[in-house]
Amino acid sequence: MLGKNPQERDYRLLVLFLLGLGVIAALGPSNYLLGQAALYLIWAAVVTQWNLVLGVAGIMLIGHLALFAAGGYTVAMLGLYFGLSPWLSLPLAAVAGFVVAFLMGLATLRLRGAYTVVVTLAIAMAMYQLIVTDVECFRKTATACYSLTGGARGLTRFGDFGFTKLLGNGMAQTGNYLLAIVLLGLCMVVAITVAHSPYGRAFQALRDSEPASQARGIRVEKFQLIVFSASGVLTGLAGAVYAGTQRTFGPQVLEFPTLLFLLSIMIVGGRGHVWGPILGTICLALVKESLTSFAQWQNSTYAVLLIVILILAPEGLAGGLSRLAARFRPVHKEVSS
């Protein structure tokens, strides 16, 4: 039904999935539900790009949220200080994500494994520290004094995507939700395209056998930098969409709970699998929503879930599903060569 070519099958599946998400909006769910769903779709979009870099390209990137923050703060600060609408600052947020990714990529290009983890995490942590320790008065109002980056409190009142005006009263959450669908669609198209492209194959070859890939002319460092930078563009965009839909952006996105939540999405979904981020988000969203009355247990629950998945199903839900699918595939006839 979905075709034999795996790449086309993934595209078709994606169209069906996005249409399904659209139908949900048409059923008229509550604004709370739409708002939460939009947020999860944005997280899923971020994880598609993180997964592309960490799972597909094999760069042990942990500080991925720095790219997200770069995009988000671009929108927030341009809105606050220059009155720019998030629509106009979207491309600039993409550029910001690209620049941070490119520099981070250059810094870690010659590093391996654990060293990349440390350096990228350090970059994200440095960014966090710079923001939360920023207390110098930059903008004065009648009652208070705000710093340039908003410090630990973050930035608010920098405008939004204006869906109330565009779509009518009470439609803000619907607009946000639809925008998040577009974002996730875009990120998934990029992820699917890259995974099936020569880039994806080169990374796959390296994972399968390093000496064999070298002996066949494959050298991935530059390809890694290209994919890393491309993921920066989309992660910056995701940050912008987050800022414009949540109407607030603060250093919390660089804090450990966010990192743990997104990492759990990636691992539970299946690292390196194109559909992992979506499956992981569905799973983690269910866990998170059912734990709302036990907020203090959230982080420990993610941690336990992560450990259980890593031990029992290191390939995550996507890996498990594809293995299950393989079992039901018609068995190959033994052809002698």
């Binding site: 492209s197 020569p198 880039y199 080169a202 000496p211 002996a215 066949r216 494959i218 060569s337």
Partner: protein
């Protein structure tokens, strides 16, 4: 005849041990050179050094007039030398077709900015190579599901898909049955006939070497023990005592006699 590969005074040391010891030899264009020798003689180390996976301690390697001694493995591949591995090094997570598309795309020349799709040249190379080694029917099969023979053929095809001028095969028929060995020999002869490749092969299966090789190089403790014709090898006392042994000699003579019969018949 031109010199395809010129190795001079090559040494590879691991600590105090010289795995390859001051070795010099040449391979002519379109020649098939067999490399033999007991386990630990340094055959695979020699391949690793020539193909750029490890750097030599001393000496020089020249490929078609170009010094490749200090080049990286990927550059050497782009210069036209492709090798296979003793252990089955294919890309297990891909299908047969994806394996060959990938090696054809990246192995032929350096890619600064790969495209998002495989180009038509790679597709053509992939299809032709599949036909050449006889794996066309299995193109959609995951590499991990192949039999030992099919994996060996796929690894050979992966090397051929990079359009090499020199093909280096590390035990291409090790662990195969007599029939399978015959099949591989047939494939290699076809490769040589259709593509005109220079081939260097390491092999313990002496019947395979005697059937294909124009010349033989025997290594012992990393140094040259014998270089010359296949016939001369069985007459060399050093080779017989260090490598073949009495039973090996008998088996080899039997094999050459059988081939002679085949040739005259």
């Amino acid at each position: 005849m031109n010199v395809a590969l010129d190795v001079s005074n090559l040494t590879k040391r691991y600590g105090a041990m010289a795995a390859v010891n001051d070795l010099s030899f040449q391979v002519m264009t379109d020649e098939i050179l067999g490399i033999a020798g007991p386990n630990g003689a340094g055959k695979t180390t020699l391949f690793d050094v020539i193909s750029g996976l490890s750097l030599p301690s001393e000496g020089q390697i020249v490929l078609f007039g170009e010094d490749i001694t200090a080049r990286r493995a990927d550059e050497i591949c782009h210069l036209g030398l492709a090798r296979t591995f003793q252990l089955n090094a294919v890309f297990d997570s891909m299908t047969v077709e994806e394996n060959l598309l990938t090696t054809a795309y990246f192995g032929r020349s350096h890619r600064s900015f790969p495209g998002l799709r495989f180009d038509s040249q790679s597709r053509t190379d992939c299809d032709e190579t599949l036909e050449l080694v006889g794996l066309a029917d299995l193109r959609r099969r995951p590499a991990s599901e192949l039999t030992v023979l099919q994996r060996k053929l796929l690894m050979l095809a992966g090397a051929i898909a990079t359009s090499p001028r020199v093909l280096m095969l590390d035990e291409p028929v090790g662990g195969l049955t007599q029939d399978e060995i015959g099949h591989c020999a047939k494939v290699l002869r076809r490769v040589r006939q259709e593509r005109g490749m220079t081939i260097v092969l390491i092999e313990h299966v002496m019947s395979f070497v005697t059937e294909l090789a124009d010349r033989v190089l025997v290594l012992h403790h990393g140094a040259k023990l014998y270089e010359g014709s296949v016939d001369g090898m069985t007459r060399s006392e050093e080779v017989v005592s260090a490598y073949l042994g009495a039973s090996g000699l008998r088996a080899m003579k039997l094999a050459t006699e059988r081939q002679d019969h085949g040739a005259t018949a």
